[in-house]
Symmetry: C2
């Protein structure tokens, strides 16, 4: 029917994302049924279905036959480590977490650029370790815009039982949809080596990540240093 540029299913997809960005449905909630959405958007069920197909492929929503369509969440055990590609060579899974610090700071030029902030805008800086047994495997540094994560503190992080992304979702209503990573091999700095219990200069996998919430708004910059002696970063190429 519409002569406009984008096909109807694409417009509907965007309208659903906009509603998610505004918080009309929260992670874990059920969306209206396909028939109800079709009525709301004045489209046929098949067209709505196509929009939901794409959102399902992008892990924005999740369908459960017989039950409904639900907003994707990082709270569910299934999706807890969706963005962590590091796996042990022997298949072991799961890490113990240890917070190093959580403090207020000002955005560096690099952070500001990545997160679309003004330079020296307030950010929250988090550093933590991921450990297996007594060995530290990952050193993560995070930068978060304070305007989205006001009040985040070491206490809050330490008290929360789930992953950081689950915490961000539950407490700050910021749901991470996708991320872009840039990987490099680097030599461990003295500081990183000491935190990871290695010798300076040891090879580390550096993973720079920018994570995006609904509408492709960048809301987290993260730099991970992975000690890949008994672990590897797995990737699928299509």
């Amino acid at each position: 029917m519409p002569k406009s540029a984008a096909p109807l299913y694409e417009q509907i997809r965007q309208l659903i994302v906009a509603a998610l960005a505004e918080g009309e449905w929260r992670p874990g909630d059920a969306l209206p049924s396909e028939a109800a959405l079709a009525e709301r958007f004045h489209a046929s069920p098949g067209t709505v279905r196509r929009a939901l197909d794409e959102l399902t492929a992008a892990h924005v929503v999740e369908r459960r036959q017989g039950a409904g369509t639900f907003v994707a969440t990082h709270t569910a055990p299934r999706d807890a480590y969706r963005f962590l590609r590091l796996v042990a060579d022997d298949g072991t899974v799961g890490f113990r977490r240890e917070l190093v610090h959580c403090r207020r700071a000002r955005a560096s030029a690099e952070t500001a650029r990545a997160l679309h902030l003004r330079t020296s805008e307030p950010v929250i800086e988090v550093r933590r370790l991921l450990l297996r047994g007594e060995r530290a495997v990952v050193l993560d540094d995070l930068w978060l815009p304070e305007r989205h994560f006001a009040g985040l503190s070491a206490e809050i992080i330490n008290e929360y039982p789930g992953t950081l992304y689950a915490l961000f979702e539950e407490r700050y209503r910021v749901h991470m949809v996708r991320a872009e990573e840039k990987l490099r091999a680097v030599a461990a700095s003295a500081e990183a080596a000491s935190l990871l219990g290695l010798q300076g200069g040891a090879p580390l996998l550096s993973v720079d990540r920018v994570a995006f919430t609904y509408g492709d708004r960048p809301v987290e910059l993260r730099r991970g240093l992975y000690h890949t002696e008994a672990d590897h970063y797995r990737n699928q190429l299509n």
Copy 2:
């Protein structure tokens, strides 16, 4: 209509892949029209379309509106570097290639396992460099089962103008569909350092790849060592 386990569109998808594996259509060829396929598989056009949707998403086929549906190829410039995730920090693209050797060998236990061969089955071993300007950025070692790549030689590789995957496709009718990679940071061995013009112990990104052809049959094992001083490996997380 069928009560069998898999939905009809999935069965059709598999039948199309089987036909591709048997060489009924070669990379670059046009498939029959959706209507013709519907008739062939005794299904409705919508069902065939769904099968083609999935094959399109997997980059197995490519649709061109008004023209038809074509078997995906590594020959086309668009897809030449589909599996190379390494990009220069400044956006520069493209490498010069330099063959180090191409020789017959026997599969190691590791190679045999990755490629589903018997240990010490004949394989072809290729080593090459990728360079930008005068700087070597990548050292690649490849292992290929001789039974799929009989006669591959340094001459053949050096004479062929396109990528290795395009060569494999044109000359050996082996089309790479997808790949799995495992990444690590490692210290450069003396040999690798010398080939890449670095000092021993320099941090390198090690990329182990197994590439699969139609029907998930592994046909290439590759170990790349990437010098990531002015380049990075980019990845999208969904």
